[in-house]
């Protein structure tokens, strides 16, 4: 684990990570560096984030005009998306019309409500809400009554959502087009890792001056970590690690003496040591997070030695964007490993094996999917 730098030595990775870690240095970049950085940042969906940091530092005028124009364009787009989702939340609250349904706002919109440092320029398009299972139907019918619609549903969709994933299908108001995802769980119910949403809901905190809630700071970080390391394949997902790290620094700054301890205790209590371990580890490795290594040693649950080494090698290659002109085979392999891992985490073995066999079959005999695809 000591040879941290080795796996992130690709020059283009270094370029992007430097820009995130030291935005003030961007004024010294030459045109060639800018051209590559802009492409990488777009791929990582971090151009709005970089633009917001430059704007805040008053530096947009001190960089090459073409770079400034593109970053400015991304920032305008991000601001529009944030406004759209914010307005959607306004309309959802209106549609619920004083009914006593506590809404917990998750992810991007929550960051925006709290004005967290990672919110500025952040690109997100959906409104994610967490409610109790009992309130699910109430919300669905209130929104449907006020003009929201499910994406036109086939019988298959309907069954998929309601029986299989125990969620309601996403709701969209046709005049605004923002997707409203109302959840009553925090992870896919198919996953092996079961997360009880109740402690999260109980600890939620009210947003100042509003009748809505967000997860408390520790839970917000844990939720971010779970989404990053438990639910997905990590490809081009650096921005979520940036979210994690920015929020971590911010909350530590706000509660300097206690926050780290609270975070560890909460992770232990909720048995979410693994994803927190990885989030802390890679924040330090890739984003120069100053958090001490002692911190994750206090976790009850930690990944094993082999898993750590595999992840240490693979995760940076997956999280960081490929070079746009020189895709690397190593990165493709690393992404494959993580793809398999994400399926492993989501599916029990008796479902995973047939699934992978089938995928392999498809890769050998493409186009024969109809024979086996449907009726299994």
């Amino acid at each position: 684990m000591a040879d941290c730098e080795k796996n992130i030595r690709a020059e283009h990775h270094q370029l992007l990570l430097e820009a995130i870690a030291q935005p003030a240095d961007l004024v010294n970049y030459n045109n060639q560096q800018w051209e590559l950085l802009l492409r990488l940042a777009r791929r990582a969906q971090l151009s709005g984030y970089l633009a917001a940091r430059l704007e805040k530092g008053g530096m947009l005028g001190s960089i090459p005009l073409r770079a400034a124009n593109l970053l400015h364009s991304s920032l305008i787009q991000a601001k529009k998306q944030q406004q759209s989702v914010n307005w959607e939340l306004n309309r959802v609250i209106w549609a619920l019309d004083g009914r006593e349904v506590p809404l917990i706002v998750l992810k991007g919109m929550a960051y925006l409500l709290l004005d967290l440092p990672n919110a500025a320029g952040r690109i997100f398009a959906d409104l994610d809400l967490l409610v109790s299972k009992e309130d699910l139907n109430q919300i669905e019918s209130s929104l449907l009554e006020k003009g929201w619609q499910h994406h036109a549903l086939t019988d298959y969709d309907e069954r998929y959502y309601r029986e299989w994933s125990h969620e309601i299908p996403a709701l969209v108001h046709p005049e605004r087009g923002v997707e409203v995802d109302v959840h009553h769980t925090l992870s896919s119910p198919l996953g092996k890792l079961k997360i009880d949403p109740l402690p999260f809901r109980k600890a939620a905190v009210r947003v100042q001056g509003k009748d809505i809630y967000v997860l408390n700071p520790e839970d917000m970080l844990l939720h971010c970590a779970v989404n990053l390391f438990q639910n997905n394949e990590l490809a081009d997902d650096l921005r979520h690690l940036v979210d994690f790290n920015e929020m971590l620094q911010f909350f530590i700054y706000r509660q300097p003496d206690v926050f780290q301890q609270k975070l560890i205790e909460r992770a232990n209590q909720l048995e979410l040591g693994n994803p927190l371990f990885y989030s802390l580890y890679f924040s330090r490795l890739l984003l120069r997070s100053p958090v001490s290594t002692d911190l994750e040693q206090q976790l009850d649950r930690k990944p094993g030695w082999i898993a750590r080494h595999v992840m240490h090698y693979c995760v940076p290659l997956a999280l960081l964007p490929q070079h746009p002109d020189q895709p690397s085979k190593r990165a493709v392999l690393a992404r494959l490993v993580l793809y398999l891992r994400s399926h492993w985490l989501r599916m029990p073995l008796y479902r995973l094996l047939p699934h992978l066999t089938y995928k392999f079959y498809l890769s050998v005999f493409p186009g024969r999917s109809t024979d086996t695809g449907h009726n299994r």
Binding site: K80, Q83, S84, N86, W87, N90, R91, W94, K146, G147
Partner: protein, 94 residues
Amino acid sequence: MFWKACNFSSLPVENWNGEFTVFQPESGKTHFLNEMGLKILIILDQSPASLDTLCQKLSEYFTLQPDVQFPGQIARTLQRYEALGLIARVKESE
């Protein structure tokens, strides 16, 4: 029940010979109104009003003949305005 306009005075309004474009910053939407459409917002911005009061003020201002259909039309318009977030319901007149 009463209606009031939401921050109407802060919305940019452009007059095009009696037709109006209004920009709503919160939603980012541009609305295109005729004169009565705008007058409703102006009245509800001055003070909250009930449907009856609003209809009466509009009839006076536009010197309309009495029409039984009129309040229904205005009520539907108010619902539309409410859905757009241009106006809101209030319990009291003040």
